[in-house]
């Protein structure tokens, strides 16, 4: 009697334990099938289908840089084919969504060269010519930072730390004067490298985790107002695909900052956070 209860309990426990594992595995297979279908639909130029499938992959939690990249491509091609068919390009905000997803892919993996290239090309299709040049130092810093992901920087920094400690050991334990000298300077340089790469990793991580940047996805006239009130004066009318920085939120309104530093208020439904 008792044994049977224990058996039942263990069976239930096993079931409970295996349930999340099973659903996770199901999720994975379904995401895989969506992914394959999406690739096939894209190859067959059925871009609306491809968009659906890649969106499903994202929904299932596989929001990788590649998924966002493929989704962005599908959106871009969908808008482009419509534009050649009807003459009105990117009528439903496909360009905005393409740019949003390229930005998301780059946020996940800033070193993804294909996404950077396609983003550059997609931005050419927007009417947004107001790009503000970055400062030389901050430009170099971002470009160096974005050449690797945060995790790569972390690994590099840990290797630098290991090497630093190894050289300190050589310095401390060696009898040979020249070896000690070399080890000493090498240890100093490696320690600087460690500090720098750690900083890069932290900076990259914070830029990856921030959700301050957003992309205009609405195709109809988006008006940026002077205050969070639709009757207030319209400052600007950004087209879809323009990237903004959200500085604060108030109800249904976001205060946004343009690349040139101008600020205004926009209804939250017009933009989507990267």
């Amino acid at each position: 009697m008792r044994i049977s209860i224990i058996r039942k309990l263990t069976a239930v426990a096993l079931l409970l334990m295996s349930a999340p594992i099973a659903t996770a595995a199901d999720n994975r297979t379904e995401a895989d099938s969506s992914w394959e279908k999406g690739i096939k639909a894209y190859a067959d130029r059925e871009y609306d289908q491809a968009v659906e499938e890649f969106e499903a992959v994202v929904e299932r939690g596989f929001a990788t840089a590649d998924t966002y990249y493929n989704l962005a491509n599908a959106y871009f091609k969908l808008g482009q084919t419509q534009s050649s068919a009807s003459g009105t390009g990117f009528a439903n905000g496909e360009l905005g969504r393409a740019i949003l997803n390229y930005q998301r892919a780059l946020k996940m993996d800033p070193s993804m060269e294909d996404a950077a290239y396609n983003l550059d090309l997609a931005v050419d299709y927007t009417n947004d010519t107001e790009s503000v040049p970055e400062g030389v130092i901050s430009g170099v810093w971002t470009s160096v930072r974005d050449s690797f992901t945060s995790n790569t920087w972390t690994i590099v920094s840990l290797i630098a730390l290991t090497l630093t400690l190894a050289h300190v050991l050589i310095y401390l334990l060696s009898h040979r004067v020249t070896l000690r000298k070399v080890a000493f300077f090498a240890a100093i340089l490696l320690f600087i490298a460690f500090v720098l790469t750690t900083w890069l990793a932290i900076s990259q991580r914070s830029s990856q985790e921030s959700h301050d940047r957003a992309v205009v996805i609405c195709n109809s006239t988006t008006a940026v107002h002077a205050s969070p009130d639709s009757s207030s004066k319209i400052i600007r009318e950004p087209s879809q695909g323009v990237t903004l920085t959200i500085t604060r939120a108030l109800g249904e309104w976001y205060e946004v900052m343009f690349a040139d530093g101008e600020k205004g208020w926009i209804p939250s439904s017009y933009i989507e956070r990267i």
Binding site: A31, D32, W35, I39, Y42, A43, V57, G61, F62, A63, T64, A65, D66, T67, Y69, N70, N73, A74, F76, K77, S83, S84, M108, D114, Y117, N118, L121, A122, D124, S150, N151, W153, T154, I155, S157, L158, L161, T162, L165, V168, L169, L172, L173, T198, A201, I202, Q204, R205, Q208, E209
Partner: protein, 606 residues
């Protein structure tokens, strides 16, 4: 003198004139209305544009007509100087006033006239004589009315506006010739207030009209006709299409005999201008549906066409922009032809089509050609076959669909490595986007779906753990190494301390061998004692021991060079003596020298 000159000049002119007239082609024409009513009096004029020979005119017999008056002859002569050039014209007209005496078609036989002895004759004229149905009103309304009301004097049927359509049963897209014709039985002063036809549901194009006024029998009445406008229209939808009436106002001068006031000079006539609004009757065109069973490639083209396809090259580099040109020529609704579908292999990117038309609209519809340019960029190398392009039109002659197809084209795309840097641009103008032809988004990533995004490592517990482990490892290694070094150092120190004792022990053994007179064993033990001493004392591995290293080591430790030399000498003497037979005294001497040098080094190295 002067008069004589003028006379000569005149004669010269006269002579020139004669030559001019003699050389000119003489035309002799007869002119008369084509349709007359039985009650009409009408004129027939025979005109010759040269001086006819006297009395040479022979009039035809006007069968079916009564000659009311004539012939009356009139001549006209004019000389023109334009830019110093002289031109002259001469005309002689014989006019008869005739009245038909029977209905039917009558032929007026040719008249003849002689010019400079040569006989010319006119073409025979065909004339139709009709009897108008409503004779009394027809005759009385001809502009000369006796009634005093000018408004009533212009009858409804005197002025008509008609839109004549070449066909009212057509297929969608089939061209129809429409002409707007004004029918009048009275003089017209002015036409105003045009209201242009709208042709709703039709595509329309106006043609340039250059027709002459003529006469026509309509509803039993004879009218003068003027073609006002000509159009080519083609229906754009099927079903019954109504063409809205076309309206315009005309002004008719009416001459009224004024009975009250009789002007002795002008005959008491007054001219009134009567304005009339006239409109065409509404017309419907029945646009028929195309028969069932249209091929897939049919897109509404109607008429008769031919198709030609050209490909600039058979072989080209990857990633370069190329274009296929498709020319459709013929007669029909060319302007409404949509580009036939071009199916390219998967790896080809097809861009926006460009359409150029060279179309003329004439009375028979639109004709000419239309060129579709399909720009594309191959993205993969290899041999490809472009499927035939199909184009179907509806032939109104045979009421059937006809399909034209191009030949399949074989092309080869070569990857010469320079493709991506190729900067050849499509020469398609008018499309801003086309400038980016060589630039398109890169293809999607087709690798297997990666795991969900990995967590960030930096500042994570694992990261801190790794750093702690590294530092701990560092400390552990340092401590262990430190201890081992210290131990090593102790061993060396002990060995150094014990170096002389070991040497002494070995030397003692050597001494016992010396007493046994065992030379070989003695030298061996002696050398071992000396080498071993140096090895232990200066912490040099035995394998590294040579005389040179010993000298270096002595120098490094500030032991005098003579000691070094002496030490080396002992070693070399022992080496030599080991294998050479020698006296006992040698052994003793070398033994004391060895003890001596070791003790000296021992004291120096302290």
């Amino acid at each position: 003198m002067k008069q004589a000159f003028l006379k000569r000049l005149y004669l010269t002119f006269a002579a020139m004139f004669c030559i001019a007239t003699a050389n000119a082609q003489v035309s002799f024409t007869a002119e008369a209305p084509t349709i007359v009513t039985l009650d009409d009096y009408f004129r027939i004029e025979f005109t010759v544009d040269a001086q006819p020979d006297n009395g040479s005119f022979r009039a035809p017999s006007f069968e079916g007509f009564d000659i009311v008056a004539g012939p009356s002859t009139s001549t006209g002569h004019s000389i023109q100087y334009i830019n110093g050039r002289q031109s002259s014209s001469f005309s002689c007209t014989y006019t008869y006033l005739l009245k038909p005496n029977s209905t039917g078609t009558h032929t007026i036989a040719p008249a003849s006239v002689a010019v400079d002895g040569k006989v010319y004759s006119t073409q025979p004229l065909l004339m139709e004589v009709v009897k108008e149905q409503n004779q009394s009103s027809g005759q009385s309304s001809a502009g000369n009315s006796n009634t005093n009301d000018p408004e009533n004097s212009v009858k409804e049927e005197d002025v008509l506006l008609l839109l004549k359509l070449s066909d009212t049963e057509v297929y969608k897209g089939e061209p129809i010739h429409a002409s707007l014709v004004l029918y009048t039985r009275t003089e017209i002063q002015d036409v105003s207030n045009w209201e242009m036809p709208s042709f709703e549901g039709f595509w329309s194009q106006e043609l340039t009209t250059n027709s002459y006024p003529s006469r026509e029998l309509y509803n039993g009445l004879v009218y003068d006709t003027h073609e006002l406008k000509e159009y080519i229209i083609s229906p754009q939808q099927s079903g019954k299409l109504q063409i809205d009436p076309v309206r315009l106002s005309i002004v008719v001068p009416v001459v009224i005999q004024n009975s009250r006031y009789i002007d002795p000079f002008m005959g008491g006539r007054e001219v009134y201008y009567v304005t009339r609004e006239i409109a065409t009757p509404a017309q419907t065109v029945n646009v028929k549906e195309f028969p069932a069973g249209a091929p897939k490639s049919f897109a509404g083209a109607v008429g008769e066409f031919s198709m030609q396809c050209s490909m600039p090259e058979q072989s080209f580099a990857i990633h370069t922009s190329q274009a296929i040109e498709l020319t459709i020529a013929g007669n029909g609704n060319l302007k409404f032809i949509t580009a036939p579908e071009l199916r390219l292999p998967e790896s080809f990117e097809l861009y926006e089509k460009k359409v150029t038309d060279n179309v003329k609209t004439s009375i028979n519809g639109t004709s000419g050609n239309i060129v579709f340019t399909y720009p594309f960029v191959p993205r993969a190398a290899g041999e490809f076959t472009i499927e035939p392009i199909e184009f179907t039109y509806f032939d109104t002659e045979s009421n059937s669909y006809k399909t034209l197809a191009t030949d399949p084209m074989n092309i080869s795309v070569v990857d010469d490595g320079s493709g991506s840097t190729h900067t050849q641009k499509a020469d398609v103008d008018g499309y801003g986007r086309m400038k980016q032809l060589n630039r398109d988004i890169r293809y999607i990533h087709t690798d297997k779906l990666a795991e969900a995004a990995p967590m960030t490592l930096v500042l994570s517990p694992g990261y801190w753990l790794t750093i702690v482990v590294l530092i701990a490892l560092f400390i552990v290694i340092y401590v262990i190494m430190r201890r081992r070094i210290r131990q090593n150092r102790n061993i060396v120190a002990r060995r150094m301390k014990r170096a002389d004792k070991i040497a002494v022990q070995r030397l003692r053994i050597a001494q016992s061998y010396m007493q046994q007179n065992n030379r070989h064993a003695f030298y061996e033990e002696l050398l071992r004692a000396v080498w071993g001493y140096i090895s232990d004392k200066f912490n040099i591995p035995v394998s590294n021991l040579t005389k040179e290293t010993i000298r270096e080591e002595f120098y490094r430790r500030n032991i005098s060079a003579t000691d070094a030399e002496e030490f080396c000498e002992v070693i070399s003497r022992a080496d030599e003596a080991q294998y050479t037979p020698s006296s006992d005294g040698d052994m003793n001497e070398i033994y004391t020298d060895a003890i001596d040098i070791i003790s000296r080094i021992e004291s120096a190295a302290k």
